[in-house]
């Protein structure tokens, strides 16, 4: 049953190197797809042909790169636009104190290549949006370990758009992981086939937004004082100078300003750390949760690449605060998903609602969340965020009622510069 072969051995492989993994690749199990062909062919694909992209070289990314390298992927690419910060070192285990300030993608790639012989990791220090479809087309699989909703939406929409029914190679499985404290999730997205990232937008935790009148007039929590310092006082005092939440001096200024206000209102609890947490929207992160989620993502990648076992269908979530609780389920496709659904989203609004109000709704609504949307119908522009001339020309529409511009049952196309897709809204009035 056990063969000692390594596919087509490369100079870096040594006898016994894949002893553990080959137990899986040399035989099928009771739940393995009958199409699985144990032995050399699958090993050759994994070790010599498969090309995989990792997006993010942070908390999840470091773990993902190490796992992929050990499981036998030899051609790995990684994209990350960040540099290493001291607060990364409690979990991003490929980085050391001496690496602080250097690009994550490059340091991570070098570390993996040094530790795991024969693996090539090609780093790109930059944004995913810098790359085009041709670039993404070269990979067999993509794994995301990102902390940004915006970036996930972009890559998800890009991969869905890339699917060409005539060309099976154009369908790139996307495996997405995310963590927050002791909680996390991993999921498998087969663009156009399973539910996509956009389909599940409403599952995201809603960010706490404090009403501006509370911040300005009736602060009650330390967070209200901090928001006052960053949203109202910073621009008032510093004018055009941009606030840099990575600059400790800026945080100190915000902390002191917020503290003064808190004292004035008898509010307790403003600290430097809380100030930093609120303005940077810091999400707690630990090594162990990242390890669980990254391993689960890489395990799905391994199963998809080798067919050695069934893969996740399609969502795994874990809550580790009270015991070990997890839930595996099939998240369903949304017919009116603006990325993979094709149907327009029905939206019922008051006939009195001004365009401005509709824009606020689009920003806030859990299943839409489009920042800075531009609106148009088939034959007219309602409001465009850019370029400046068109923004100025369409600005007067903001105070008009939507019902003056769009007939009942009419469609509005919503776009945003950050998102590579448009949303169709079918408007009815109440």
């Amino acid at each position: 049953m056990i063969s000692q072969s390594n596919g087509f051995a490369t100079p870096h492989d040594w006898a016994g190197r894949y002893y553990h993994i080959d137990q899986i690749l040399d035989a099928s199990g009771p739940r393995t797809d009958p199409a699985f062909s144990a032995g050399d062919e699958v090993k050759d694909f994994l070790r010599n042909k498969a090309k995989i992209l990792v997006i993010g070289a942070g908390g999840l990314g470091c773990e993902i790169l190490a796992n992929l390298a050990l499981t036998g992927f030899k051609d790995i690419h990684v994209i990350d636009m960040d540099t290493i910060d001291i607060s990364n070192l409690n979990r991003q285990f490929l980085f050391r104190q001496k690496d602080v300030g250097k690009p994550k993608a490059i340091v991570a790639a070098e570390f993996i290549m040094k530790r795991v012989p024969g693996v090539t990791v090609t780093p790109y220090f930059g944004k995913i949006q810098d790359k085009d479809e041709d670039y993404y087309m070269q990979f067999n699989l993509i794994i995301c370990g990102l902390d940004s909703v915006e970036a996930r939406r972009w890559i998800n929409a890009t991969l869905v758009n890339m699917v060409d029914g005539e060309n099976p190679e154009s369908l790139k499985p996307l495996i997405d992981g995310g963590t927050e404290g002791f909680k996390g999730q991993a999921r498998v997205i087969l663009p156009t086939i399973t539910s996509c990232y956009e389909c599940s937008l409403d599952m995201l935790n809603k960010q706490t937004a404090f009403p501006i009148c509370t911040i300005a007039n009736t602060p009650r929590l330390p967070e209200h004082c901090i928001e006052w310092a960053s949203v109202l006082e910073w621009p008032r005092v510093h004018g055009e100078k941009k606030m840099d939440t990575d600059d400790p001096e800026h945080i100190t200024w915000l902390y002191q300003t917020a503290s003064k206000r808190a004292k004035e209102f008898n509010i307790e609890g403003v600290t430097w750390s809380l100030t930093q947490g609120v303005v940077k929207n810091i999400i707690p992160a630990i090594a162990s949760t990242n390890a669980i989620i990254a391993a689960s993502c890489c395990n799905e990648a391994f199963k998809i690449a080798t067919s050695s076992a069934a893969y996740l269908n399609n969502y795994f979530m874990l809550i580790g605060t009270d015991g070990v609780y997890s839930y595996t389920f099939e998240h369903e496709k949304r017919a009116d998903c603006p990325v993979c659904g094709g149907e327009a989203v029905d939206m019922s609004i008051s006939s009195e609602l001004p365009v401005e109000g509709l824009i606020d709704l689009l920003v806030e609504k859990q299943d839409i969340q489009i920042k800075k949307p531009s609106l148009s119908t088939a034959n007219k522009q309602i409001y465009l965020q850019a370029p400046p001339q068109l923004e100025a020309a369409t600005r007067p529409n903001l105070s008009k009622k939507v019902s003056e511009l769009v007939p009942p049952g009419g469609e509005i196309t919503v776009t945003a510069s950050t998102l590579p897709f448009s949303l169709s809204l079918r408007i009815t009035y109440t």
Binding site: H20, F93, N290, A291
Partner: protein, 546 residues
Amino acid sequence: MINSSDVQTAIVADGAVPDNKTRRYDRQLRLWATSGQAAIEQARILVLSSSATSTSILKNLVLPGISHFTILDHSLVTPEDAGNNFFLEGPESIGKYRAQEAVRLLAELNEEVEGRADTRNFREFLLNGENNGVREWLSGYTIVIVHNLDKDLLETLSNILWHDDSFPPLVVVRSAGFLADFSIQFHEHTVIESHIETSPSLRIDNAFPALKEYALSLDLDNMDITDHGHIPYVVLLVRALEDWKKEHNNLQPKTYAEKQSFKSLVSSMKRKLDEENFEEAESQAYRCWTSSSVPSEIVSLFSDSRLSAPSASLPAFASFASLPPFFQLLKALQIFTERNGYLPLTSTLPDMRSSTEEYVRLQNLYKRRAEEEKAEVKNILIDELGGKVDDSMLDDFVKNTHRLKVLKGRKWGAFVHSNGGQLIASALETSPKQAATHLGLSALEDVLFKKGYSSLHGKAPAPQITIEELTEAAKATLPPGVTLPETEWNEVAGELMRAPTADLPNTAALLGGLVAQEVIKMITKQYVPVDGCCVVDLIETWTGII
């Protein structure tokens, strides 16, 4: 959700930019604060073997900053080890002591952590334990972790550590291919800061005198209209409830109709249509009939036998102060709740529509009352019971009485063996997949041991195992008449047969995360560790508890 008071304690020098250590640990301090971090920084971890799974677990404990770890492993790195373990340097490590290589590479992750490789033969060391001080040695650790330890050694170790409470908990981790399980052997684990997301009662149904007095003192009809729109809902509900009770024989709304008419009463108190504080009061009206009596989970903790002894045999004060502090506090809490009918008040208020002034006033009312009730608990503890607990623990305890947790652990193997196998038999009925996986891993352990295959580390060729051998071993542990669930068993056994000694990198990494999370919860005494055996299936990607 992060409680701002947790974060508050995470900062060392208020006002100053945090030092390098605080910055390094910032993202975890936001979960367990300086108290949790201090516990981690005192922890000494012992791990038997330096398999891929073992080093993955250690990685996730070294990074957050434990004090010390020892790897006990006398084996030399094989080519097989060098292929699947990130904390070995490929072919360069082959032939060297595996523990030494792993310690060197793990210690790089965090300069604050001390690592030690112990290359004594642990089979000899453990089995001749009585003569060479193995007990004393083991008791120097906070927690002991083993991965795929040979069956006889596991039994010996678990017996030693089960001897009494003074020995560290034992985490037993087993894996083969895509399947794994782990459990923690401990006698008892108490948690004050469980972080369970239940909010403490605001006690609106039973407002304390100062709150009631304040609510009744307001001239709602004649006050300034802006002020009227800024009274916090807590005050409005207390007031409305008093008004209601006057009209209803001093009774609270009980039936659905009464509740609806109470809500209308709240709504009718509006003086302007858009007063959001009243809308909030209406939506929070359920708090008026949610009883502030002691939750049943907390009452059930009072049945602990250690609590009944002192009050029955007063004045046995000497023995009371020797109880673990948690149980001294629990006894004081029991007396407090028997006298008052509720848990001590906490001063944390949720945010609500209100002016700053009114909110701060309300906060102060709660704070003052919470201090008084804490003083009452302290008085019971010290003056009446003769207890002795330090103030910071008392503070934490009183703040968290609504979410205290006491876990009763069990000895390793008790699940399969106790009650004549009835536990596993019923698990096979209720959770056949999970139970079959657990049983399968036990059967595999047994078969490998009988074949003389040390699971210490992988070495080609992998042993050949048959499904019959596994089935026979599994059946031997079941009580007569209990059968294996056929489909589930075949799936498990077939998978174990396929990869009996595979320590897959992804499985290892996943276990590394899961086990480290549980160990952190044990060490910090924050959050709630797993109660039972956690089973993992990475084919269908699920975890379960039996």
